[in-house]
């Protein structure tokens, strides 16, 4: 079995939810295990790491000096690095600290701040190393994860579109919650891929998959804050969730802070 591609799954600053998406592939998990040798996956086994790896899936963001060293080593040992999830691709929820006063936050949260050895920012994996592919989502969608693994094995580009959630809603026959119900929604500026989890339950999109290509957040932000009466404060909050550090969302939230 030595010729099977070797897959590793790494964790940085994150909640483990994206790794669990891989374990969530119950029906397909045996096929995955048949197609690759799972060489390192702490969430699923205790085998110690031993490179090199053909594919490294990386979850989580870079938040400590030690992370910076470890991700460089993973890059050295991996042919392909695929970052998975909002933390790994935009810095995650924890990127909220990028806009606050780091020292004050540490003082407020920890009884002994002197023990904390962290970076002042939470940043995506791509802020430190070259990443071969970024898979979005909080958490990632298991079908997209399988697609990325299958595409990597086949040596082709994954079918992971960068267009809006609206395309996905309309194809699925979901009635637009913004137009028909007046519900504020980030779908028009958010990348598709979640399987319309919220909009299929008549909820507005929370933007878990981060900004779509060329996201016009300014136009949507204006529509939501002014025409929908959400106000600037709440609109800024809408853009500041799982992908608060993604540039178009970060910028749009700041724009509403200024009001």
């Amino acid at each position: 079995m030595a010729d099977k591609p070797r897959l590793a799954v790494w964790k940085f600053s994150s909640c483990d939810g994206c790794q669990l998406s891989l374990l969530d592939c119950e029906d397909e998990l045996l096929a995955v295990a048949g197609a690759v040798e799972i060489a390192y996956f702490l969430e699923a086994s205790r085998t110690p790491p031993q490179g090199p790896y053909d594919i490294s899936l990386v979850e989580g963001s870079i938040t400590t000096p030690a992370d910076s060293v470890r991700i460089a080593e993973i890059r050295r040992q991996s042919k392909a690095v695929i970052s998975i999830g909002a933390c790994a691709t935009s810095g995650g929820f924890q990127a909220l600290r990028n806009i606050g006063d780091y020292d004050e936050i540490v003082r407020n949260v920890y009884a002994h701040p002197e023990y904390i050895d962290a970076l002042k920012t939470s940043t995506p994996i791509s802020s430190r190393i070259h990443v071969d592919f970024e898979l979005r989502g909080c958490p990632v969608n298991k079908h997209q994860l399988l697609e990325v693994v299958a595409a990597s094995l086949a040596g082709r580009r994954p079918n992971v579109p960068n267009y809006s959630q609206c395309v996905e809603c309309k194809r699925s026959g979901i009635v637009c919650v913004m137009v028909a119900h007046g519900t504020p929604c980030l779908g028009p500026v958010t990348q598709a891929g979640c399987g319309s989890l919220c909009t299929s339950c008549d909820r507005g999109c929370y933007g878990c998959f981060g900004p779509k290509e060329e996201a016009n957040t300014k136009s949507l932000g204006k529509r939501i804050s002014e025409d929908f009466g959400v106000g600037h404060r709440a609109t800024a909050d809408m853009f500041r969730t799982f992908n608060a550090g993604a540039e178009p969302f970060r910028r749009e939230a700041l724009r509403h802070d200024e009001h």
Binding site: A31, V32, L153, Y163, C166, R171, P188, V189, K212, R223
Partner: protein, 384 residues
């Protein structure tokens, strides 16, 4: 049309009670059709499958404006007083996602299988004039002598259309200025016109084809009176007169000669590039092919799914995407729809249903943008 044939066609007009829709839908189901008709789902009027015994929902109307749709319940029992909802019948004839073929590796190469299901025979119940016109436009896209799409055509050949005249218009409707409505002139198998006044509630029934006439044989109909026809005509006229949006007659020429107008950039600032307009448009036909391989290295599939010219990838060729800016993608869509469609298919690609206006999250308006360019053409030429 000669007076005589007009007269004979008029003689074919019948009336039935509103409850007659139940027998009509049942007759279509008994004839093997999957009937698709209006249903209230998620506070909108969608077109969904009917079972025998089902009837169209009564007492609904709608309010529509740029970026806004509200379905409103009333207690008047009228059957068709709303206009078009978010989805046309496009998704049945041209499904959002469809497997075209699959391939399996063999000892000496690979074998390709067309494993699609046989085409369903759909009966579209309650199609408005603009929707009948839109199906006519897609017919030309998918079967035009040069190109012929087998899956669309197989479904289309079996399809049956029960149309309904509109007796009111939403603020987003502009079919009258596109020459497609409010009542269809052709393209239906059965045409219904609702009459609801002075305590009378009935449906005028006409057949437009042999298949339509055969279904009508099975229904309990009475001959229509001249007064009934006049009422139906008055309803259509009223619907047309209600329309506040009017597409300029010269939209084709105006857009074609203003490719560098400064207004494109202004629209681009508002446009989200979300593609909603193309998804809800009953004539937009763009699709992207997706080749799928699973973890099994010996099989592959090709899928076709709705695409949008508002995605960057839509114009991707070797070296990158041609239309990088949002405004250039909007310009591509509207100029194709209203102008270059004529050169490609010999007609406009717009039927005036207004869906792209209603379902744009930021209320961009195909009529308004065209008018803005038209009205500022001269000043633009001076300063541009």
């Amino acid at each position: 049309m000669s007076e005589l044939s007009d007269l004979s066609r008029r003689n074919d007009v019948h009336v039935m009670k509103p409850e007659g829709t139940e027998a009509l839908i049942r007759a279509l189901i008994e004839d093997g059709y999957e009937v698709i008709g209006p249903k209230v789902i998620a506070q909108a009027m969608l077109y969904e499958p009917y079972e025998a015994g089902e009837t169209p929902p009564a007492g609904w109307t709608d309010e529509q404006d740029g970026g806004r749709y509200r379905l409103i319940a009333r207690d008047d029992g009228k059957l068709f007083d709303y206009v078009v909802g978010p989805q046309g019948f496009k998704r049945y004839l041209f499904p959002p996602r469809e497997k075209l073929w699959s391939a399996k590796r063999t000892a000496d190469g690979f074998a390709v299988g067309r494993d699609g299901a046989p085409a369903k025979a759909y009966a579209f119940f309650g199609a408005r004039a603009c929707e009948v016109a839109a199906i006519g436009i897609q017919d030309r896209v998918f079967d035009n002598g040069e190109f012929s799409d087998p899956t669309y055509n197989a479904r289309r050949a079996k399809a049956f259309i029960v149309s309904v005249d509109c007796s009111r218009s939403a603020s987003t409707c502009f079919c009258a200025s596109m020459g497609t409505g409010p009542a269809p002139e052709a393209g239906y198998d059965i045409r219904l016109s609702e009459i609801f006044e002075d305590g009378h509630h009935m449906l005028l029934v006409r057949s437009g084809s042999e298949a339509g006439a055969a279904i009508l044989e099975k229904l309990d109909l009475k001959k229509a009176k001249k007064a009934d026809l006049e009422k139906a005509d008055a309803n259509s006229r009223r619907a047309a007169e209600m329309q506040t949006r009017v597409m300029p007659d010269d939209a084709r020429e105006v857009l074609a000669r203003n490719m560098k107008h400064s207004h494109w950039v202004e629209v681009g600032k508002r446009c989200l590039g979300c593609g909603s307009c193309t998804m809800v448009c009953p004539t937009c036909f763009c699709a992207a092919m997706e080749d799928v391989t699973g973890l099994d290295p010996d099989s592959a599939e090709r899928w076709r799914q709705w695409d949008t010219c508002f995605s960057v990838n839509h114009s991707f060729i070797h070296g990158g995407a041609i239309r990088q800016e949002a405004w250039s993608r909007y310009r591509q869509w509207i100029t194709h729809k209203l102008s270059f469609w004529h050169e490609q298919f010999g007609q406009s690609g717009c039927v005036g249903c207004g869906r792209c206006i209603t379902w744009c999250p930021v209320a961009i308006d195909i009529v308004e943008e065209t008018r803005t360019i038209r009205d500022s053409e001269k000043t633009e030429a001076l300063h541009g």
